[in-house]
Symmetry: C2
Subunit: 211 residues, 2 copies
């Protein structure tokens, strides 16, 4: 049995999340992009990151590529490892939001239960969690196949590939539902920016921290 920590507590300190929000001129939030491989999650996140920067807003992208080469380089693609992958990404997203960052997390994240756990984690700490379903028919994603992964999965060279021999559970009630097979990238980014504006996430101004 592991000697797991029991005598630890959240150290609140003097500078709060509100102070950081004032300093940054923005409220942190997690925008969680979910969808099939090739659905366009990362492409949308990259374009959104640019749009946010042009509005002087700090965002940071987390994706399967940079996370799996770093903190999650000891995880694979079994159901258990996918769950741990998403759990860790959820915790990292939360830390970044607490720091004040607008986090753009784009992961296939095929299991509803895993995404709901990340949502719960944010809600418990009163942090915005915005689930964005990048909906794209499997046939369209497979036609694109930007990394040649579907081809490998069909050939049996990659196992447990979402949509082929592993399930994708579509969100039942996402904050935003994009259709990447019919909407342009510009439309998708505009829809997200509108949503963030409506939620008041882009309006906070810079403000000095008082002594």
């Amino acid at each position: 049995m592991k000697n797991v920590a029991t005598n630890v507590h959240w150290h609140s300190g003097d500078i709060t999340r509100t102070d950081r929000a004032k300093l940054l001129g923005q409220l942190g939030a997690t925008l969680w992009f979910t969808g099939l491989s090739g659905s366009g999650k990362s492409t949308i996140a990259v374009a959104l990151e640019k749009a946010l920067a042009q509005h002087n807003k700090l965002s940071y992208r987390l994706d399967g590529d940079n996370i799996r080469l770093g903190i999650n380089n000891n995880l694979g693609f079994s159901a258990e490892d996918r769950t741990e992958n998403i759990r860790r990404v959820g915790e990292i997203s939360k830390l970044l939001v607490d720091a004040g960052v607008i986090v753009l997390s784009s992961f296939i994240s095929p299991y509803s239960a895993d995404r709901d756990a990340v949502r719960k984690l944010h809600k418990e700490s009163d942090m915005p969690f915005i689930e964005i379903f990048v909906d794209c028919p499997l046939s369209a994603a497979e036609d694109r196949d930007p990394k040649g992964l579907y081809k490998k999965a069909r050939a049996g060279e990659i196992k447990q590939f979402t949509g082929i021999d592993a399930p994708y559970e579509a969100p039942s009630n996402p904050e935003l539902h994009l259709h990447s097979d019919s909407q342009s990238l510009e439309t998708e980014v505009a829809l997200i920016m509108d949503f963030l504006t409506e939620r008041g996430l882009l309006t906070l101004q810079h403000q000095a921290v008082e002594d």
Copy 2:
């Protein structure tokens, strides 16, 4: 055997770390506080966080408490788990630095090899890593015993406690060597601020991101 990711790559995107640094008016860096339990690491980090905010700089504290309640809630205090704990914190620190944040990581981090691995991780990506040794004799830390942990360790209620029945390997060449049994908190914060100023980490000004 785990089906570990092999076909992933770092996704660089359009907005760079330099863009984020301009937007924030600061360069990200990891300040890594290491020392015995009760040496004053978190106290110094909390005071430094305030000093940085008064200079309009965004920092974020990671510590044993908030990390072990979150992402590392599945790790204990065995040598193996301590190593994985510090590895994950190192990766998270790197992500925050990449986002532009000044990270204040305060962990006992008793093993030199673990701290050196975090240093290497930062150096590989050309990210500043500043090791701050919060030096305090065991007797002084044990006299303070702010959380009553030494008392429990002496009574055998906590096992593998650093300094009692687990080793602490002091840094051989830290960027800053503080002596928390003889220096005031004000002095310690001033020494760190001077160091950051010398390194040019506090001088960058805000700059809009160009189209």
